[in-house]
């Protein structure tokens, strides 16, 4: 990853950016996010198949924004997240430098927004293959089996909201779960409240989820909650033929419509 390190150093040295967000190996060898502001520390940057965390989540955090201009190591999901965040006016492209990384780990030259757009446009935006298989398996179940499956999974939820914290799109400073007038979602962790929380989360990400799978990875009790949002990503494409994170303009399906949108259940 010499190119990445060189580029990061260069950006920090010529003060184009104040911080580079990337990945590094921690003392125990576990990959963790790195916030590098000293060019001398850029050598610790790594990029390999373990570097899957969606770093875009940091872009909306006030404490990160205060650091100054940011260069961010960006795989496709990160680039799509950045696109979503621009379209939802949470960040501006001027505030960041995208250190794009291709699917085979090569540093891309993302000179500007249109180059990033071009890279996204020619990429496969459907759900990653391993998740597609899981989704297909789940869809084969009968409604009762599905209900049982999700009840079993969701009963594990401890309402830690790690899924929310890990998601770059869950940037609201106040979440619906924190509203108590009225109390939309029960505060306690219980079967009913857990289910409603996960429905709410999935619905709020409908048409906005960029299929990074970070929510599922973040879950400490192993709930495959990413499958809920990824299922909706599939459906958004089925119905509306669009993927999230493909335009700097607001185009998410829930905030737009076509008069001839098709459905088969409204009588």
């Amino acid at each position: 990853m010499d190119n990445l390190i060189l580029r990061a150093k260069e950006l920090l040295e010529n003060k184009t950016v104040q911080v580079v967000i990337g990945y590094e190996a921690g003392p125990t060898g576990v990959v963790r996010p790195a916030f590098i502001s000293d060019p001398a520390n850029a050598d610790s940057l790594i990029y390999d198949e373990r570097c899957v965390q969606n770093l875009a989540v940091y872009l909306t955090k006030p404490e990160v924004k205060h650091l100054g201009r940011i260069a961010i190591v960006s795989s496709l999901p990160v680039m799509r997240s950045i696109m979503m965040l621009i379209s939802e006016q949470q960040i501006s492209y001027d505030e960041i430098v995208v250190l794009g990384i291709s699917a085979d780990g090569v540093l891309l030259d993302i000179a500007d927004l249109s180059v990033m757009q071009g890279y996204i446009d020619k990429s496969d935006l459907s759900n990653p293959v391993k998740y597609k298989e899981l989704l297909a398996e789940l869809k084969k179940l009968t409604p009762a089996e599905k209900f049982e499956y999700w009840q079993k999974e969701l009963s594990k939820c401890i309402k830690c909201y790690a899924c929310r914290q890990a998601c770059p799109m869950c940037y609201c400073t106040r979440c619906t779960v924190e509203v108590n007038q009225p109390q939309w979602i029960s505060v306690q962790s219980n079967a009913h409240g857990n289910m409603e929380w996960h429905i709410l989360r999935a619905m709020h990400l409908a048409g906005r989820c960029i299929s990074c799978g970070e929510c599922g990875r973040a879950c400490p009790v192993g709930i495959p909650c990413h499958l809920l949002t990824m299922h909706l990503t599939d459906q958004v494409y089925n119905y509306f033929k669009v993927y999230a994170g493909t335009s700097e303009k607001m185009n998410s399906v829930m905030s737009t419509y076509e008069p001839n949108d098709k459905e088969s259940f409204i009588v």
């Binding site: 006016q89 609201c172 400073t173 106040r174 509203v179 939309w184 829930m254 905030s255 737009t256």
Partner: protein
């Protein structure tokens, strides 16, 4: 502590016949926070309303539930009664016991139980109502009329005559519209120009009317009483004040072979031109697309010959920013041209023309000075065929509707032809004769009986050319679907009336809805035919659907009255049931995170940005803000907002939630 008053109406026996009103009042009276509960035979009657007013004072009520008919019927009545009783009118709700209960269910326990549930739900809602003040918005008393055809002219004159200012926008160089192209008008056969021209002049001279021709709407912002309209005044390449309208330039222009739009391509015009002799304003414009100077960089003959040096080749387009209180859309219609019809040769045959072209042929001021000459060789046709419903009422062509005016103008055309070519034969193919209107059917009968026009009930399958003649093949359904073949010298298609070009674009700028044919949509097909779904924007004439002159004029006057009624007030009062984005103390300012997805769902552009700045002037947060003048209270943004930062007054989250809980739970 809430003190709710509940008033159960019998509505004569309309409610009490199936609902035990006594039991409802009694049960509700036992609920917590219900300070007073009673029943009465007619709540909407004067004594009924007095009952409410008295109870408000006597029991110090903080909310009222009138359990009677549909709120769509009497909500304003009871809200007014509450206001007169000293209670904020928005602290009154209605429980619909009549339409939604007593009239649709049998008399039994369950019906009374349902009635109790309905009232209970409203009691829970009204507890959460807040006192709201009506929104007052000022009114700019200047109207804009878009389109200078007969509908626009009528509207503008009517509004101007009420003493209000009118700005008229017309995209072509002259006002007059399609009516100015007509030769005679049905059912009186009076000359169109003769009745129209005085009106056009009146527009130009009216002290309250400002006319901008060669101008189009660029953008529309704002809301009823307070529109901000940007108008693009296209460069006429002329100093209108210096020009005297002598017309020398138009005669000297070397470019003379441009198809004349006013003559429907039946005549030619120069590049600097006045569309027709009676044009208002009677000043030329340079058609830059066809002017030799703009194409090749030299010529300027008009500039040389102009005695007042009025030509301005470098004149730019001008953008006017206008403050407007109400808008009348009168952009009219277009017709389908012969090239729309493959079965009639796609416009390949010169002697197949459309109705407007025939008008120009028949017009004394037209290219043939009123002599009916066919376009190909200038011969007078001996045999002429008129085809009605060319395109109209033909779902296969995408036009299912009746264009309404064609039956009448086809009869007129046939008549005019017979009056001019006495020995000629006129044939009309028709589907049905639709001649509803004052003296209309009599007119058609005259064409048939006095002028001996041959009416054939049937459709024409094809028209083709053979030996210099047009062969019209059709069927006569009144003669047992017999094949008919007519050898004609000329064919006139009564083509469908369609939406004016650019109508869709304009509708979008105005945020007004339009139908699948791009005609502007009225707010209600029967009861609000001149209003649109956007308050303060009205419709006149054929931009809504094809109309004849009297209909267009009547509607134009209707629209003018709507505008005048609006301008009769200095302030508008609006129901305050609008959305609101919450505000919190700094440094949060609002729980809104500023994603502005709401902006994209709002059909009224009511969502604005509000910036909060730190002491150093740096913007620290940008959040959504509702313009309450624009918001119509649909609440789509409320349901979309992920952080629940938007709420809708009158249908707030806590209120609808309370309704759900009350309706489904035992009491």
């Amino acid at each position: 502590m809430a003190r709710i008053g509940v008033f159960v109406c019998h509505c004569g026996e309309n409610i009490s016949a199936t609902v035990d009103c006594g039991k409802v009042a009694e049960t509700i009276g036992n609920l917590k926070h219900v300070a007073y509960s009673t029943e009465y035979k007619y709540m909407c009657s004067d004594p009924g309303q007095t009952l409410i007013k008295d109870a408000i004072k006597e029991h110090n009520l903080t909310g009222v539930v009138v359990s009677a008919c549909s709120p769509r019927m009497h909500e304003p009545t009871f809200r007014k009664a509450c206001a007169e009783g000293g209670l904020n009118p928005f602290l009154c709700e209605m429980a619909n016991l009549r339409e939604h209960c007593s009239w649709v269910h049998e008399k039994n326990e369950l019906t009374t139980e349902k009635a109790i549930d309905i009232v209970r739900t409203q009691v829970e809602k009204v507890k959460l109502n807040s006192a709201l003040q009506p929104i007052k918005v000022p009114v700019t008393k200047t109207a804009m009329v878009i389109g200078g055809g007969i509908a626009g002219i009528q509207s503008a004159l009517d509004i101007a005559n009420t003493g209000h200012k009118v700005i008229m926008i017309e995209r072509s160089p002259s006002i007059g519209g399609h009516m100015s192209q007509l030769s005679e008008t049905f059912p009186t056969l009076d000359c169109s120009q003769c009745i129209l021209t005085p009106r056009m002049v009146e527009v130009a001279q009216h002290p309250n009317i400002t006319l901008y021709t060669y101008a189009e709407v660029e953008s529309v912002e704002g809301f009823i009483g307070n529109f901000k309209v940007k108008v693009r005044k296209k460069a006429k390449s002329l100093d209108e004040k210096a020009c005297t309208g002598c017309g020398l330039c138009t005669t000297k222009c070397p470019q003379k072979k441009i198809p004349n739009e006013f003559e429907q391509g039946m005549g030619m015009r120069p590049a600097i031109y006045v569309p027709f002799p009676q044009a208002v304003p009677n000043r030329p414009v340079i058609d830059r697309e066809n002017c030799t100077y703009y194409i090749k960089g030299k010529c300027k003959i008009c500039e040389i010959v102009c005695p007042t040096k009025a030509i301005r080749f470098d004149q730019p387009d001008e953008i006017l920013e206008l403050e407007i209180g109400a808008i009348v859309v009168a952009t009219g219609f277009d017709i389908k041209h012969a090239d729309f019809f493959p079965e009639y040769g796609h416009g390949r045959y010169k002697d197949i023309i459309d109705g407007l072209q025939f008008e120009r042929l028949a017009s004394a001021s037209g290219p043939t000075a009123g002599v009916i000459k066919r376009p190909s060789d200038g011969e007078i046709p001996k045999n002429i065929v008129f085809i009605a419903c060319a395109g109209s009422r033909d779902p296969a062509k995408g036009i299912a509707y009746c264009s309404k005016i064609c039956c009448m103008y086809t009869a007129k055309h046939a008549m005019l032809y017979k009056h001019k070519v006495h020995e000629g034969k006129a044939h009309v193919f028709y589907m049905d004769i639709r001649s509803g209107g004052k003296n209309y059917d009599e007119f058609v009968r005259r064409a048939i009986e006095e002028d001996h026009v041959n009416y054939i009930r049937g459709r024409v399958s094809t028209v083709f050319e053979r030996d210099g003649k047009l062969i019209v093949k059709g069927v006569d359904t009144l003669l047992g679907a017999q094949q008919v073949e007519i050898v004609a010298d000329m064919v006139v298609l009564a083509t469908a009336g369609v939406a004016s070009s650019g109508a869709e674009d304009l509708a979008q700028k105005l945020h007004v809805s339009y139908d699948s044919h791009k005609f502007f949509a009225e707010a209600h097909p029967k009861l609000k035919p001149v209003e649109t779904n956007t308050a303060g924007i009205f419709l006149a004439g054929a931009c809504q659907n094809p109309k004849d002159i009297p209909d267009a004029v009547s509607q134009a006057s209707g629209a003018a009255v709507k505008v005048a009624a609006l301008f009769s007030q200095s302030e508008l009062t609006r129901e305050p049931l609008v959305a609101i984005v919450n505000r919190t103390s700094p440094p949060t300012y609002s729980t809104c995170v500023g994603c502005f997805m709401c902006q994209s769902v709002c059909p009224y552009q009511a969502i604005e940005r509000e910036e909060f700045k730190a002491r150093d002037g740096k913007v620290v947060k940008t959040v959504a803000k509702i313009n309450e003048g624009l918001c119509q209270g649909c609440g789509t943004c409320v349901a979309l907002c992920r952080s629940k930062s938007i709420d809708l007054l009158g249908y707030s989250n806590t209120q609808v939630y309370a309704e759900v809980v009350a309706l489904l739970n035992e009491y």
